[in-house]
Amino acid sequence: MSEQLHFAEHTLQEVALGFMALVYCIRIYWFTRFTAGKERQPPTGPASTTPRKGILFSWGIIGMPWAMESSRKNMFMWLQFVLFHMGVVAAIGLSFIIPYLPEVLAIAGVIPTLQVLTGTACVIGVMRMIRRLGGKHMRAISTPDDVFSLLLLTVWFAFAFQAVPNSTANGEWQLMTYFWMTAFFLVYVPFSKISHYLYYPFTRYYLGKSMGRRGVFPFERGQPQAAPTGTPGAPALANVGAIQRVKA
């Protein structure tokens, strides 16, 4: 391994990680400086819905594709989201495995698994890019940051895919690019929309707390019933399984 690659795998990553952690701490501090609105309203809705249940439901909603109409009606999109983020976990994990635990890669199945995850995520990234740039609505809501973040991740996945075997047999450039991209990504993330995961616990916590208090979360599903199909001009009405709340 060249000195440059060693630097990219270790010092560079550590500095980038440290920078990211620092910026994130400042970011969380900045965020929590905004006082949270206090809720005085008495609880409403069925007794089975409480703020606590609402919060748990709200945090978990992302893993319950049946719970929200937007994921229920677009299961494929939801699956893309899951696979894309599994790719994120794999590619980030890889940036720790290669420098600190390279022996893990020797375990049977690890390399193909990581390659499937990052490869799939890369393909989904391309699909997402087509969706983002191709659709009128998506284009209208996209900023350069949205496009760049997606592009960055998609290319990063491609290099992660190639970096997985941790081999320099065909030269070091794949590994080198992967680690430099990882470092760039770590530094860039706090300033981009990718930092959404930092806010996710908060936004969903507050929404869940309020909705739980008001008897809206959790949606309790009883018998799913088919919606009438063929409602002209209103595609969203077709094939919607209605939420059936079960009274406490």
């Binding site: 309203q41 008495p42 009606k73 969203a236």
Partner: protein, 577 residues
């Protein structure tokens, strides 16, 4: 270019209004577009991305990023950050936050990140209202609620008169003096609060509720003040108004030492009074509050009232009000109650927290400049209603009653709208109803306007024909005039008992005609009911230096609203005479 004063104020005010929940919603959006299809405006305008919730949300997000977030301050174009610079920018923002969103919260429910767009859309409305930028209708209604304590400009005397009128009618109907509606009685179990629409357009819901309270033997009162449980602050984003209005209700309940406040069927009223009001008013409420839906359901379950569902013979579906269901979790009680009072109930899909807005929410009915786009988006709801095959749509919200009635008319659906209170009252079995004397029977079966002459003034032939037909069906002799001069002449010649006067007419508009009537010694005593498609024009009438009209009705006109209002004018002014 220097930033306008108002634009700067909006930015400053945003800084004061930001709380953690709102900031979270502003920073967390990943622009994934998952919420796009959840909005009824998008479904009705599939080619126009400016209806997408995330696009609309970005209008405030841009300002936030430019002034309060990091990247946006340094490289604004990279994250789409931008300041409003001119008053025209604010006007444009107004048309989006008021005209392209009913704050129904359906997109909120469909956002994986928990971005609550509807809440910060409300906040944006509030920022604009703060600098006086709002649709005319919002200004009028807010002013009424600030000044008169209710959002429909009902004067205290008119409110009391209406309650007393309904009280008399109920006593006559059931033949029991105990059915009289108490006003300002202290130490009661229940203080009953209503939507001013009931006093103004639909007094039958007041007498229906009173009939139920009477049948249940409830100790209740209606307050003389703090009776309006609706709150335009929810729609205008004005927390100060919101707090003031809800405080009026809370303080009145405390003054009367009522143990419970019952909120009549109204989605936004329920949400404002029960949920948001305490936050806006910073008020810790020490009494119970509930919806009249819960009250009626409890009466039936506890055997306090008995109902016979065979008395409601049509087919019914239920429309969940956004505020009632999606923001307050009130989804099962209305269905349970409905199933107790009707036999043929048909669910609507999607429903409960996933239901589509009636499209009249968020104060949309008062913003006439956006009516065409509102009615266009209403196609989604119309399709939903049609698919149920029901003849009657029941809803627990007065706002929805208006929104649904309007869209039903617009899309030519063969449906009616009603509320649970009407169905419960209609199915009520009153065991010991006293004998009603023959003479009173005779009165109640007489046509409402028998022996009356009413002059209908409107330049639109369709409107004239509609009003005239309804009035003639109810026994009136109807005269018609197409413009102000003809109207004045007819009034002199025929001396009608009542005049319905359209405001927007070519030539001499209704406002001028009205002023001439009042200033004419021969005509000044005439009873006049203003009819207008533009509620904001009402101010032009009420601010004239002449005696107010006896009533006003907004277009589109509903038959029963027309009849009950004109009846009210004739009967109350008779009494006063």
């Amino acid at each position: 270019m220097e930033r306008s004063y108002k634009a700067q104020k909006v930015i400053d005010r945003l800084g004061q209004k930001l709380n953690r929940q709102v900031v979270g919603s502003l920073v967390a959006c990943v622009h994934c577009g998952n919420c796009t299809d959840s909005c009824h405006y998008v479904l009705a305008n599939p080619d126009d991305p400016t209806y997408a919730p995330a696009w609309k949300g970005d209008r405030l997000r841009k300002i936030f990023k430019k002034h309060f977030d990091w990247t946006g301050r340094v490289v604004p174009w990279w994250v789409g950050a931008k300041s409003p610079e001119t008053d025209a920018d604010l006007e444009e923002l107004k048309d989006i936050v008021f005209g392209k969103c009913t704050n129904c919260r359906r997109c909120t429910m469909n956002c994986p990140m928990g971005v609550d767009f509807a809440t910060f859309n409300r906040l944006t409305r509030g920022l604009l209202v703060h600098v006086g930028i709002m649709p005319e209708g919002v200004a009028v209604v807010s002013k009424d609620q600030w000044e008169l304590g209710n959002q429909m400009g009902v004067l205290k005397e008119d409110y009391i008169d209406t309650v007393e009128w309904m009280s008399d009618e109920l006593v006559d109907e059931v033949g029991d003096d105990k059915a009289a509606i108490p006003i300002d009685k202290s130490d009661v179990e229940v203080m009953y609060t209503i939507n001013p629409r009931e006093a103004k357009y639909d007094p039958r819901t007041i007498s229906d509720a009173a009939k139920i309270f009477w049948a249940a033997g409830e100790s209740y009162t209606m307050p003389s003040e703090g009776w309006d449980m609706t709150n335009f602050g929810l729609f205008s984003g004005d927390d100060e108004l919101g707090g003031t209005v809800s405080r009026r209700v809370y303080e009145k309940a405390q003054a009367l030492r009522a143990k419970k406040v019952v909120i009549s069927e109204c989605g936004h009223g329920y949400r404002s009074t029960l949920c948001e009001g305490a936050n806006w008013a910073q008020f810790d409420v020490d009494f119970v509050m509930e919806s009249s839906v819960q009250t009626m359901l409890r009466y039936i379950k506890e055997g306090k009232i008995k109902v016979d569902k065979s008395l409601n013979i049509s087919s019914y579906t239920y429309h969940d009000s956004c505020n009632f269901a999606r923001s307050c979790g009130m989804t099962e009680e209305p269905r349970e109650l409905l199933n107790l009072v009707v036999s043929d109930f048909r669910e609507m899909y999607p429903n409960r927290a996933e239901n589509y807005c009636c499209t009249g929410g968020g104060g949309a009915m008062s913003m006439t400049e956006y009516t065409p786009q509102r009615l266009k988006s209403a196609r989604v709801k119309a399709d939903q209603l049609k698919a149920t095959g029901a003849k009657v749509v029941v809803t627990s919200c007065h706002n929805c009653v208006d929104g649904l009635t309007d869209l039903i008319k617009h899309y030519g659906l063969d449906m009616e709208v009603t509320q649970l209170v009407n169905l419960v009252a209609n199915s009520l079995l009153v065991e010991k109803a006293a004998e009603v004397p023959e003479a009173e029977h005779a009165v109640s079966t007489t046509l409402a306007f028998a022996g009356r002459t009413i002059l209908v003034v409107d330049d639109e032939a369709d409107a004239r024909r509609f009003i005239a037909t309804v009035l003639e069906d109810n026994g009136a002799t109807v005269l018609q005039a197409v413009d102000g001069d003809e109207a004045l002449q007819m009034m002199r010649d025929k001396k009608p008992d009542l005049v319905t006067l359209d405001l927007s007419m070519p030539g001499k508009d209704g406002g001028r005609v009205f002023e001439e009537i009042r200033n004419d010694s021969e005509l000044s005593g005439a009873r006049v009911c203003i009819i207008t498609g533009k509620p904001e024009l009402r101010r032009l009438i009420y601010e004239r230096p002449v005696r107010e009209p006896e009533g006003y009705i907004n277009k589109p006109i509903q038959e029963d609203v027309l009849v009950s209002n004109l009846r009210r004018i004739l009967e109350l002014t008779n009494k006063a005479a």
